[in-house]
Amino acid sequence: MTQKRHLPPAPAVAGRVLDAGLDLLDRQILDPDAVPVSTVDDLELTTPDDLEHLDPDSPPIIESLLTGPILLTRIFGGRLPDSRFIRIPWKVVADPGTVVRVGVAADSLDASWTERWMRDHVIARIPGGRHDPE
């Protein structure tokens, strides 16, 4: 049943406001040298203690950005076990703009594991892999 109702504006917030789906999901993550880390594929939030009786004073907070295989479960359904999450902790996020910037080098994050593997085991073994193009 759709009625045209005039909705009051939401109360103001003393800080930045982000809509997760609009501003965070599917965004590129860059490190301080503008090296791509990964994309934001999902968000990990703290779980409320009692889901049947939510506590109005303890809203969930973002613990980490998630990337990797969780993209498939997000699109196609299913649930990835927690142990398989690839996390980028909220602590290292420096700026969630059109690009999400983190404050640590890409290589130091779990999320760059496949890139490092491909580099060390495949590409670096091909002659010229470590040289700048000319």
Partner: protein
């Protein structure tokens, strides 16, 4: 000299869109069957690709984001994945055709069987992607690809009936044709789709980032678009016109590059043939580079990998791994003996899906001040952009039924 090379990116992108192996043969087929009556489609296509390449180049220069990154951000992961799957298949099929095309062009030059050229071509493409700087790659292939201008030269030497050609452009069919309307519209959509193939904007916008274009380079971006794509369209039309003049009256069927080159050989003899073969090799090689890099760009940008030829391969490992894999698979498909040019017929199907899913997000982001600051689209750009979006939707809906009804233009 700098002047010519400043538009190399636009020219190379246009080569992949207007004179890759599929187009070399299709333009010739169209000229030999429909005369110049499909010229209007090429013109509509040129305007469309100019409009959207210009938008995506602008978005890349101002926001630093390449088109596929934006597709995921604005359309969401699900639709972007659909686009990625379709685009990846298009790229793979087209790459197979281009490697095949390089081999066919080399066969014209050497009389050596294409099958022996396949691995040579694939490895040559890989080496250029692995080691050659982006700017050198685009300058050399762009410049050599312009050898195809020989078709325009040949046209003059063929002393055509200009008024007959002119009346065909204005939709008076030639007395030699007797095609059905369905086939006419199938080729119309095929030409339109070829002019606006998504990998052109993926390549152009990623190339803009490879070239490190910034806001101050917007004029250069515009120049690339306005020189490159119309030039590509002109080359297309020249090839069709030559076929109209030489092949159509005799009812010669175009089955390979040989028939495509025939008018030039007839008009300009051996010298013309050498130049045209050089043009074929350069154009198919350039298109192969463009399509291979597009595969890497789209996958890398969807998943958020480090990408780009400006990085050393070890710093963009998955990007390079994907491209190597694509070349290997393309080679494998070619060794099964399939006709490389026929292979591109099927990419029309996937284009139907990829076209709207590519151009809608470009239009949306080009209007978003968060990405563009005050370089958002003007009203005229939006007006034409929406019209073209409508045309693209029509083409994408009609493509598959027409393909079935006409047996892919038989």
């Amino acid at each position: 000299m700098k002047g010519i090379f400043a538009v190399a990116l636009g020219v190379l992108t246009a080569i992949g869109g207007f004179v890759d192996i599929g187009d070399l043969v299709t333009n010739s087929v169209v000229g030999s069957r429909f005369g110049m009556t499909l010229t209007w489609v090429v013109l509509v296509g040129v305007v469309g690709i100019c409009l959207f390449a210009q938008m995506s180049g602008r978005v890349a220069a101002v926001s630093g984001r390449a088109t596929f990154e934006i597709i995921r951000e604005r359309l969401g992961a699900r639709m972007a994945l659909a686009n990625l799957s379709a685009s990846f298949l298009i790229n793979l099929l087209t790459l197979t055709a281009e490697i095949g095309g390089i081999a066919l062009a080399l066969q014209l030059a050497s009389s050596i069987e294409p099958v022996l050229w396949f691995p040579v071509a694939a490895i040559a493409v890989w080496i250029v992607i692995w080691r050659v700087k982006f700017s050198i790659m685009e300058n050399v292939t762009g410049l050599l690809g312009l050898a195809l201008v020989v078709f325009a030269v040949a046209l003059f030497f063929l002393h055509p009936d200009w008024s007959a050609l002119g009346s065909q452009v204005l939709l008076q069919p030639s007395p030699h044709t007797d095609e059905t309307p369905a086939t006419y519209w199938y080729y119309a959509i095929a030409l339109f789709g070829a002019a606006m193939t998504p990998y052109e904007v993926f390549f152009f916008s990623s190339g803009a980032i490879e070239e490190k274009w910034k806001k101050k380079d917007l004029a250069q971006s515009r120049l690339n678009v306005l020189v490159g794509f119309p030039l590509g369209g002109l080359l297309s039309l020249a090839i069709a016109a030559c076929a109209t003049v030489v092949l159509l009256p005799k009812g010669i069927q175009v089955e390979s590059l040989f028939e495509t080159a025939l008018p030039v050989a007839q008009a300009l003899g051996k010298i013309g043939l050498i130049i045209v073969i050089l043009g074929f090799v350069a154009a198919t090689f350039g298109a192969a580079l463009e399509v291979t890099l597009s595969s890497g760009y789209t996958l890398g940008q969807f998943f958020g990998w480090p990408w780009g030829k400006f990085r050393r391969p070890a710093s963009a490992s998955r990007f390079h791994a994907v491209m190597i894999l694509s070349l290997v698979v393309a080679l494998g498909i070619l060794f099964t003996g399939v006709d490389p040019v026929q292979v591109t017929e099927f990419s029309v199907v996937f284009s139907a899906i990829a076209l709207p899913l590519t151009y809608l997000p470009i239009l949306i982001v080009a209007n978003d001040p968060k990405y563009m600051g005050d370089e958002v689209n003007g009203r005229a750009t939006n007006f034409f952009g929406l019209i073209y979006l409508g045309l693209i939707l029509v083409a994408s809906i009609a493509a598959i039924p027409l393909m079935i009804v006409t047996g892919a233009g038989a």
